[in-house]
Each structure stands twice: as structure tokens, then as C-alpha cells.
């Protein structure tokens, strides 16, 4: 039965659901390595650049990259606390997002910061990356925690 929202103008409700079978392709290793507690990403030996998120192909020279392990230690480059979000994350509010500058990585990595004391968080603060014990095979399987 079509659900009617209004008569004038006539407005009807049309639900929509979909499931994608999404491949992580050659970056799958990032996620599968998490189950052995390792934080792996890719590096272009030609350009001497390490990328996180990983890329199978170097955007600078288009050569194939190699997998390397990283320590997951770093600092906060910038931080925000969210009080509103897209529909899927409303249940998590409030939460913090950070760009972290990680040892041995040339890019900044966007992740959640999990801490009991959100007020103490500041730019430049030391953090370390944590890996979830219950993997969901999403980028939310890793996050940062204060390390000082």
C-alpha cells in the first residue's frame, strides 16, 4: 500500500533499499592485515612516498606500490567535535574526527578520535592508532586514541 503524506499537493512516500557487493580490490590487504593486529599501507619506492589510505598505484609516477607496516603513532593535525551528522551516524553523536600525521606516512589520515576527555584534545597532541577486535571491514575498524 502506498503511504500518502499529503493530498494537496499529492505527496506519496516511496521507500528505497539496496545492497552493494563492494570490492576493496588491491587495497583489501589493509583490512585483512587488521585481523593479525597489523597496520599495513602502501609505499612507492620510486617516489619515496607512503600513502594512507593505501593506493595500489602511485598517483605521481603510476608505478605499482609495495605494502609496508606502519607504527600507527603520530600527532593530531586538526580536530573537530561533531554534534550533528549524516543519518547513519546520528546514534554516535557527539564524536570527534581528526586528521592525524602518522610516523612514516606522507599523507594525513582522517579517522575518529576516541577519548574519555574530549575537552583535553588539542592540535599537536600525541596519538596512537587502535584496531577494533570486532572487524566490520570498514575504515571505522581503526581509530586514534590519546598517547600521552
Amino acid at each position: 500500500m502506498t503511504e500518502v503524506y499529503s493530498i494537496d499537493p499529492l505527496i506519496i512516500k516511496t521507500p528505497y533499499e539496496i545492497t552493494y557487493k563492494h570490492s576493496y580490490g588491491k587495497t583489501s590487504k589493509f583490512f585483512t592485515s587488521l585481523s593479525s593486529g597489523k597496520l599495513m599501507t602502501t609505499r612507492c619506492e620510486h617516489c619515496k612516498v607512503t600513502f594512507l589510505p593505501p593506493r595500489a598505484d602511485c598517483p605521481n609516477c603510476l608505478r605499482e606500490t609495495k605494502w609496508v607496516e606502519i607504527s600507527g603513532k603520530g600527532t593530531i593535525h586538526t580536530v573537530t567535535t561533531l554534534y550533528f551528522s549524516g543519518e547513519r551516524f546520528l546514534k554516535d553523536l557527539p564524536f570527534q574526527l581528526v586528521y592525524v600525521d602518522l610516523e612514516g606516512v606522507n599523507t594525513l589520515f582522517l579517522t575518529r578520535l576516541k577519548t574519555k576527555d574530549m575537552k583535553k584534545v588539542k592540535v599537536g597532541m600525541k596519538i596512537r592508532m587502535r584496531i577494533s577486535k570486532e572487524l566490520e571491514w570498514r575504515s571505522s575498524d581503526v581509530w586514534a586514541e590519546p598517547d600521552e
Binding site: P53, H77, T78, T80, L82, Y83, E87, L97, L108, L110
Partner: protein
């Protein structure tokens, strides 16, 4: 050699959080009718040679190939049409594409049709659709939300340059209060029958006291979500001179790009692409672009200025309509456009330079914060606004003379996607 191209007519709808009274194609017809019948032109609908259709998301209305519905609804079949999509910069890219169509001689008279109807899903779902225009493998699953991404960039701008929440609030006040003299604006309940009820003028204090959405951005620092449409007509020199006595020429256009994930952008010391009036030593120590500046915006401006022979934008431009998705991004964009040095954007608004009565008014329409952000319509709205400014007829269309920048001869429109992934800058002159 490309042909000279002029804007000759424009039309807008009333913008609203929800235009339940009309379908998307009916909204487009409202704007097209204004473009054809309310501008002082000698042009019949049949003189349009083709259309460039500008909308962002198929998700909002659960309808793919909407361009075809529009082409049919306006009665332009079997003439050529193309759909342009580039996130928030969709409209700017569409105007640029229409310019290319006319400059190349493919079309003599082109209609750019920009629109979005965002109200048929709830606000949180709408925000989610917008966030799907971020990397869905990496950035979206951690809580992806554009206000969060922009807040991270704004926080870094504060850290790097000392920009303040008060300065951001001043942008909101300027744009929102400009919109109170523009009858199309969503925040203008006195002139727009479809406006939000809690619109009207605001103060810096109102902005600072509005609730945080994502620190440092508060509710009043953030742009609108709108239903509505904008239509612009471009013509070749030969046609334009027959259509109108007041053509407005497109004398420069540029487009830039950057990484979808802002964290992947370089942080090159002293890496700022220079504009003609700038000195390398200003930025010797600055890591660029990082997440505090929009390299795509700088690149689009650099190209547009070169094409239009602009060597000092602050002096040579009379008015700007730019993509103020957030108050912070208006400040960042001042710097990318070279209106002031990197790091000084906050001071520019503080000193009143970009106020309606300042040296270089920015967003006299009210922009995305005061007037509208119906994504695919936004960049087209800016071009329509600039056309009317340079023709000196803003008062007639807005229903108030207060938005008209006196004696404006040359202006810039700026359209921006993602966290600065696609940006266009276009120069218009009378």
C-alpha cells in the same frame, strides 16, 4: 580563436527549504519563463540552439536522466543537450561548459539550466547523500558529514593563521543580511512567500550563540539546503548584440581540481601557485595547500585572471559571488582568489572590505548562507546574479535597490565542490 561570448538573460525561482507546490521540472519552467520574458531581450524560445543541464544528485529525487525530462518539459527536443555534474561546482562547470559550446561555435545561443530539489528526503538523509560525494571507502564510514570535514579545515586555518569564530560570524551576518533585500532568498520572509519562518536579520551574537554543529562551525555558519532553479542564456557576439543592448561578456574562465580526500593533498613548503601581484617571500614558510587552503580555487583563479588580464583582483574586480558553503570557506576563498594574503582572510571581512558598501562586495545576493544552495542551481544562480549586477538591474529583480553594487563593471563568480575538489572561477564584464 574562441568566439566572444556574452550572458544575455537570466531567471530564478523563489528558493525554499521545500517547494512542495511544484515538481522539479515545474520549478525549472518558472526560472526559464523569467529568463525569456522578464529580461529586456529580443529573443524567442525557438532561438535557443541547445541546453546545458546542471544538477548534482540523482538520489534526491530517485530519478536518473532527469536532464531528458527537463529537455522535454521545456520543449527543446530534438535540439542538443548535455548534463554536467561536479558536486557543488556543478553550476560553475555548467556555465563554463556553455561558454565552451558558444565560444567554439557549436551553439550560437545556449540555455544553462541549473536546479535541485533536496526536500524530498529528510535533512539527515540529505546530508548523507551530500557526504556520499566524499570517499565512501575511507572518509564516509567514520562519520562522514561535510560540516565535519569543513570544521577540520577551519580549525587548521585557525591554528595556522589565527582566524577567529567572530570573523566567521561576520561572514554569516553579512551574507544573511544582504539576503534580506533579495526577494528570491530563502532566509527572507518579508519578500519571499516560500522563505523559512525563522529567517530575517541576524547579529554576530546570534551566530556565536547558535548551536555547534561541528566545532568551530555553528548552525548559522552553515549554508542552506534548497529547492529551486536558475536559468542563464549565453550567446555568441553576433547574436548577443541583436538580443540585448547590455550584453555581459565572459572574459575569463578557469577550473582547478584537488584530491577527493583532503588528507592526500600535498603540504609543500612555499608551494603556493603565485598570482601576478603576489611575492614569493610572503609564503616561503607556508605548507601548501594542506587542509587549510583550496589549491583548486587558487588554480581556477590563476587561469581566469590570466585570460581576463587581471593583475590585481582586489582593485580590478567590482563584485564577487562566491561559494560560501561555510563562513570559514568564504574566508579561505578570499585568500585563494588573491583578494588578500594567505592568512589575512578573516581581517578582510572584519575591515568591511567585502560588505555591500565595501571596496569589493562579496555575495550581495546573500550567497549560499543567505539566499540558497540548491546544489546544481547554485553556480548558475551566481552567473544570473552577476549578469544583473553588471547590467545594473539587480534592484528590479530583487525588489530592492540595496543589493545593487553601484557602477559595477567587472565581477567574478566562484563555484566549489567537495572539500575543494573541483573549483571554477569565471570573470564577467559589461
Amino acid at each position: 580563436m574562441p568566439k566572444k561570448v556574452a550572458a544575455v538573460a537570466g531567471g530564478l525561482t523563489y528558493f525554499s527549504k521545500a517547494r512542495k507546490d511544484k515538481t522539479q521540472e515545474e520549478l525549472v519552467a518558472e526560472a526559464a519563463r523569467m529568463a525569456l520574458f522578464e529580461n529586456d531581450i529580443n529573443l524567442a524560445k525557438d532561438d535557443i540552439d541547445g541546453t546545458i543541464v546542471s544538477y548534482f544528485s540523482d538520489h534526491f529525487e530517485d530519478q536518473l536522466l532527469f536532464g531528458s525530462i527537463i529537455q522535454d518539459y521545456l520543449g527543446f527536443n530534438p535540439k542538443p543537450s548535455v548534463r554536467i555534474e561536479g558536486g557543488g561546482a556543478t553550476g560553475g562547470l555548467a556555465v563554463r561548459d556553455a561558454y565552451a559550446h558558444v565560444a567554439s561555435g557549436l551553439l550560437d545561443v545556449a540555455m544553462v539550466i541549473g536546479f535541485e530539489k533536496m526536500s524530498e528526503v529528510n535533512t539527515a538523509k540529505g546530508n548523507e547523500f551530500i557526504a556520499l560525494a566524499s570517499d565512501t571507502d575511507w572518509d564516509f564510514p567514520i562519520g562522514g558529514f561535510y560540516s565535519g570535514y569543513y570544521a577540520l579545515m577551519a580549525r587548521r586555518h585557525m591554528e595556522e593563521f589565527g582566524t577567529t569564530e567572530e570573523q566567521m560570524a561576520m561572514v554569516a551576518v553579512k551574507n544573511r543580511n544582504n539576503a534580506q533585500h533579495n526577494k528570491f532568498a530563502q532566509t527572507n520572509p518579508n519578500m519571499n512567500p516560500f522563505a523559512m519562518k525563522d529567517g530575517g536579520k541576524i547579529t554576530v551574537d546570534d551566530v556565536l550563540k547558535s548551536p555547534y554543529v561541528s566545532y568551530p562551525l555553528k548552525r548559522l555558519d552553515i549554508c542552506l539546503m534548497s529547492d529551486g532553479a536558475a536559468v542563464l542564456i549565453l550567446a555568441s557576439e553576433e547574436k548577443a548584440k541583436k538580443i540585448t543592448d547590455t550584453p555581459v561578456w565572459i572574459t575569463g574562465t578557469g577550473a582547478g581540481t584537488d584530491a577527493m580526500r583532503a588528507g592526500d593533498r600535498p603540504r609543500t613548503v612555499g608551494g603556493v601557485p603565485m598570482l601576478p601581484h603576489e611575492k614569493k617571500e610572503w609564503y616561503r614558510k607556508l605548507e601548501y595547500p594542506g587542509v587549510h587552503s583550496f589549491r583548486a580555487g587558487r588554480e581556477s583563479a590563476r587561469q581566469a585572471y590570466k585570460m581576463a588580464n587581471i593583475t590585481n583582483p582586489l582593485k580590478q574586480l567590482d563584485v564577487i559571488e562566491l561559494h560560501d558553503a561555510y563562513t570559514s570557506s568564504e574566508i579561505q576563498t578570499y585568500e585563494d582568489l588573491g583578494l588578500t594574503k594567505y592568512g589575512q582572510g578573516g581581517k578582510l571581512v572584519e575591515e568591511g572590505v567585502t560588505a555591500i558598501d565595501g571596496d569589493l562586495p562579496v555575495n550581495p545576493s546573500g550567497g549560499l548562507i543567505g539566499a540558497m544552495h540548491a546544489v546544481g542551481g547554485t553556480g548558475v544562480m551566481q552567473a544570473v546574479e552577476m549578469l544583473w549586477q553588471l547590467q545594473g538591474v539587480s534592484g528590479k529583480f530583487h525588489g530592492s535597490d540595496k543589493t545593487q553594487v553601484k557602477n559595477a563593471e567587472r565581477g567574478l563568480i566562484h563555484s566549489h565542490a567537495g572539500t575543494g575538489t573541483y573549483v571554477t572561477a569565471t570573470i564577467m564584464e559589461r
